[in-house]
């Protein structure tokens, strides 16, 4: 019996080749897109799950509030890890990881800059699953000056993985012994390092300070231990260990501190939440956002729906053509069951082919997808474990869903009606079909609007006046390595003809260093009027080099010696302190530490106000920030006044060589650094545009098919009208009108929805565009145009046909 179904299905499919092609391709396209999104989502959700104990590992975060300022840290106090392990029996282990930052690693005699180094406690391998190829995980990081490297790092530096006992030289003089080689850390990890240096090599790690947080701290709880219970005990823990330090430094107890409206608290974040839900200060790497997982899953679902709708639509449209066949079959005694099975079988067979094509396409296009999404997804034997059942499920579920409507609709025909031709009017009466077309186009239009809004916002980011000029600025990023020579280097640059100006500091709006300090409005250091701004050390050339604007007062000057205690506030900071006329007012900073009778504060007198400039991403409002006058050799930024960049770059490199022959100069352009910080938005934009295009293509494929059926259904009518004098334009208009109406309805439905959702998306940006009416006009026009083009292809064909022929076929 089944074989019979299959045979008939095959015949019916191959009888209508173009129909079959449109149907299979549409579905395959939809499925391919979905597969990619599934890959993406599965990848995002799998972060850190390579750890066998993933669900028992938590990171300790700190929330700090001081007056009106609050910060959430991904880091905690230096002594916290060992304290937790000692105090709580159900804390099986704890480990600290500290990013070591850019470091020179010597290979043969060349120093290579590496960024993926971290100090880690010896317990690292107890907590995280980082399989060791050689070496002893229990002891590898016990001793000072030990380092564990990944397999590919070993190969990179020694061309072999047998490197135990070999020596690696960091920063030209620190010798570390390789004590272990681990497998490369999976991409799906919220941290990714090539070198783990033993924490013992980092003296600061023995600090017992409880009032600072700068170590990423993870705990491994024992089986069935309650993380809530641990979290609940944190206030007491802090009271016990930090209370004394608080008293001596801030002259108050924790209770008093909290009474003044401030607090510092610890909380636990599950390891598996970090990648998608954590964007705190002090992360070990850039994390993603669960928002995108939701957005993409929704889009995948939509595209799948569009594709299925097509499938149903085309099948039902065709059903009126097959009504006669069904009628005859029924008259001949075929039971309804048989007919249903027959149609379902056809539909499942089509879905099977579509799925096959989709899988192939996904495998072929995967590298392209990786390039666009910045992922490194590979289809392995492991992915087949979930891919195979998924494919089967798709075939069965989509096949029977898409086939069910035509199956039940067709099989319910009364044979007598069919044979009398009562179903000839079936096309126009297809309410469901109209509804489905509207649905498809509503989604497509929604996606077009989404794309337009995203691109507008990205464009806005690109062109917004940020309060500084990022173009034509070359940043030498590792000036700090020049140590005392940095000033010499900077000075020598200003003599080059193409250099307009140069400034030396690591604090830059696009990247680089950040530093927060507490300033007080009164000399008694009252918490109430404290501010917690970015505090940057800059030189007198900083503001002119970056083309920032002084709106009141003046810039720092080399010639005024009191400027070392001068301070420049941005407008946000000035507003925060609420000075009417801030110039020459004084603000204060705690020196911290001891209190042996001497005055415990530094005074800063305000000499100028700089116009607000965006030093964080445009997601965030411009926060208060202050500049102090000092010597910081973190980086040298050069404003370039020539178009001959390569030549100038060569000269700058020569100057660098003159002061530092052994170290490579590391540089970038400020506008590129800026763009890099919006890479995730750029990527979303690109992905959105691809999905939109796909959704529209799929919807149009369906429309194309439907228009073909409409034209076919109405051949007779078209013939009659032509005989009665209708011209080609009138016929095309008549055939297109019905579809255009549907597209217009879709515009009306999707516009407000799109407005609302994109409005929500934009809320994430402190600086954002308004969604203007033309976005909707353009989206509507685009959808209508595409629809008209698609339909007219069929209508023109129908309109041009000889009416005599169409009437003959009746």
């Amino acid at each position: 019996m089944f074989k019979n179904y299959l045979k008939t299905a095959f015949r019916s499919i191959s009888k209508n080749k173009s129909f079959t092609l449109i149907n299979i391709l549409g579905l395959a396209l939809g499925l391919t897109t979905c597969l990619f999104i599934v890959f993406y989502v599965v990848d995002e959700l799998s972060y850190d799950r390579y750890n066998i104990n993933a669900n028992r590992i938590f990171r300790v975060n700190e929330d700090l509030k001081l007056g009106d300022n609050s910060v959430q840290y991904a880091v905690a106090m230096p002594p916290l890890a060992k304290t937790l392990k000692a105090e709580y029996p159900y804390v099986e282990d704890a480990v600290r990881i500290k990013n070591a930052g850019a470091t020179h690693v010597k290979k043969n005699n060349v120093n290579i800059i590496e960024n993926r180094l971290a100090f880690a406690d010896a317990s690292l391998f107890n907590v995280f699953t980082l399989p060791m190829i050689s070496g002893d995980p229990k002891t590898a990081l016990n001793e000072p000056n030990s380092v564990v490297v990944t397999e590919s790092t070993a190969k990179k530096y020694f061309n072999t993985i047998n490197v135990l006992g070999k020596v690696i030289v960091f920063n030209d003089h620190e010798n570390f012994k390789v004590t272990g080689v681990i497998k490369d850390i999976p991409n799906q990890s919220h941290f990714n390092f090539d070198f783990f240096l033993s924490m013992e090599s980092f003296p600061d790690s023995r600090s017992n300070e409880w009032l600072r947080s700068d170590y990423n701290t993870y705990v491994l709880l024992r089986n069935k231990a309650d993380s809530k219970k641990l979290e609940a005990s944190f206030p007491n823990l802090l009271e016990k260990f930090s209370g004394d330090q608080m008293k001596s430094e801030l002259k108050m107890s924790i209770k008093e501190f909290e009474k003044s409206g401030s607090y510092f608290r610890l909380n636990l974040m599950p390891l598996t939440d970090i990648h998608l839900k954590s964007t705190l200060t002090g992360e070990l790497g850039a994390n993603s956002s669960v928002q995108y997982v939701y957005i993409f899953s929704a889009i995948a679902l939509f595209i799948l729906l569009i594709a299925c709708v097509n499938f149903m639509n085309l099948s039902t449209a065709r059903s009126s053509n097959r009504a006669r066949e069904v009628g005859v079959r029924k008259v001949l005694g075929s039971p309804r069951k048989y007919l249903i099975a027959q149609f379902l079988c056809e539909s499942i067979l089509l879905t099977f082919f579509a799925t096959l094509i989709a899988l192939l396409a996904a495998i072929i296009l995967l590298p392209l997808f990786n390039q666009v999404s910045g992922k490194e997804i590979a289809i392995t034997a492991q992915s087949l474990i979930w891919l195979t059942p998924l494919a089967l499920a798709i075939i069965l579920i989509i096949g029977s869903l898409a086939g069910s409507y035509p199956a039940f609709f067709l099989s319910a025909f009364q044979p007598i009606d069919v044979l009398k031709g009562k179903l000839a009017t079936g096309f126009k009466g297809g309410m469901l079909r109209n509804f489905l077309v509207v649905f498809q186009f509503a989604i497509s239009i929604f996606l077009i609007i989404g794309t337009l809004v995203i691109y507008n916002q990205l464009n806005y980011i690109q062109t917004k006046n940020l309060g500084y000029d990022r173009n034509q600025v070359l940043v030498v990023k590792n000036a700090f390595e020049l140590k005392d020579e940095a000033s010499v280097f900077k000075q020598s640059l200003t003599q080059l003809p193409g250099v307009v100006n140069a400034t030396m500091t690591g604090f830059l709006p696009t990247s680089g260093w950040r530093n927060t300090r507490i300033y007080f409005k009164d000399a008694n250091l009252s918490q109430k009027e404290s501010m917690f701004p970015q505090s940057w050390e800059v030189d007198a050339d900083y503001i002119p080099t970056l083309n920032m604007k002084i709106v009141a007062g003046r810039n720092f000057s080399k010639d005024i010696s009191s400027d070392t205690s001068g301070i420049i506030l941005n407008q946000a900071a000035a507003k925060f302190f609420g000075f009417k006329d801030p110039i020459n007012k004084t603000i204060y900073q705690s020196k911290g530490g001891d209190s042996k009778g001497e005055r415990n504060v530094n005074d800063y007198h305000i000499i100028g106000i700089v116009q607000d400039f965006n030093f964080n991403s445009l997601h965030e409002k411009i926060e208060p920030m202050v500049m102090t006058y000092g010597h910081n050799s973190g980086a040298v930024s050069i404003r370039v006044g020539t178009s001959k960049i390569p030549a100038l770059l060569a000269q700058i490199k020569a100057k660098w060589k003159a002061v530092s022959p052994n170290v490579e100069m590391d540089y970038s352009f400020m506008d590129q650094d800026f763009d890099a910080s919006y890479r995730s938005e750029q990527m979303i934009g690109t992905i959105f545009i691809i999905f939109t295009a796909l959704a529209i293509i799929i919807a149009c494929l369906g429309l194309f098919g439907l228009a073909a059926f409409a034209a076919e259904q109405r051949t007779k009518e078209i013939g009659i009208r032509k005989i009665l004098g209708a011209n080609i334009g009138a016929i095309i208009g008549m055939l297109s009108k019905d579809f255009i109406k549907l597209v217009l309805i879709a515009i009306v439905i999707s516009s407000p929805l799109a407005w609302y959702l994109m409005h929500l998306w934009l809320q994430d940006f402190a600086y954002r565009i308004n969604i203007s009416w033309w976005v909707f006009a353009v989206a509507g026009l685009a959808a209508t145009t595409v629809a008209v083009l698609t339909i007219s292809f069929q209508s023109v064909k129908a309109a041009l046909a000889n009416p005599v022929k169409s009437l003959r076929s009746e």
């Binding site: 000839a424 009208r721 005989i723 009665l724 004098g725 011209n727 000889n802 005599v804 009746e810």
Partner: protein, 225 residues
């Protein structure tokens, strides 16, 4: 009114070539009522389609009202057609989705008649065909005879000079068929030229002249008295 000379029409399907009209010549004068008869497949419909400018001949000349139109393109033919010719078919060819009124109104829309004028003329002609009471019905709701009366109403609403009818009674019983023939005769008496294809000798008797075709050629002409 109509003069065709040595008209030829071929149909090529893959390897077979059918000669549907073979050097056919004939003339129809204004005000005549002509019946065309002949066995199935002899080329009657083909001839009617060419006369109705729905199709173009492969060879020969077709002069309509003194104008040679054999070489006219589709657009010019359509223009001439919608102002001069009305059609009646065996299978009525009404549009199922439109009401009786809307069906009859169509030719007026395509010749750009204003809507108030359209209402007037449609009602006039529906009245004449005695189907006024059915104006808001759909074709499926009418009997065959009624449907054909609607089709005739539609053919004459534009006041064409020529009506072409392809077996207008073929799908009707004899009483309904006679009604249709009476209608055509009336129209002819009011001055409309009529060319009708028929299988029925009975119907042919309503005409002035019978042209008999065989294999695309005229074999005989009888003048009715």
């Amino acid at each position: 009114m109509i003069k065709i000379t040595n008209l030829e029409k071929f149909y090529r399907t893959e390897e077979v070539e059918t000669i549907a009209l073979n050097k056919l010549s004939m003339e129809v004068n204004t005000g005549e009522f002509v019946a065309i008869m002949g066995p199935s497949g002899c080329g009657k419909s083909t001839l009617l389609n060419i006369l109705g400018m729905l199709d173009d001949p492969d060879e020969g000349s077709y002069v309509f009202n003194g104008v040679e139109i054999a070489h006219f393109n589709e657009r010019k033919r359509a223009d001439l057609r919608k102002h001069n010719i009305g059609f009646v078919f065996q299978s009525f060819n009404l549009i199922d989705e439109l009401t009786v009124f809307e069906n009859v109104e169509l030719p007026l829309i395509y010749t750009g008649v204003s809507s108030s004028e359209r209402v007037k003329r449609v009602e006039e002609v529906l009245d004449k065909m005695q189907i006024m009471h059915r104006r808001n019905h759909y074709p499926q709701q009418l009997s065959g005879g009624q449907q054909q009366r609607v089709a005739i109403a539609r053919a004459v609403v534009n006041k064409p000079k020529l009506i072409l009818a392809d077996e207008p009674t073929g799908n009707l019983d004899s009483s309904n068929g006679n009604d249709v023939m009476e209608l055509l005769t009336d129209l002819n008496e009011q001055g409309t030229t009529i060319i009708m294809v028929t299988h029925s000798e009975h119907d042919a008797r309503y005409s002035h002249r019978i042209i008999r075709l065989l294999d695309g050629q005229t074999v005989m002409e009888n003048i009715m008295v």
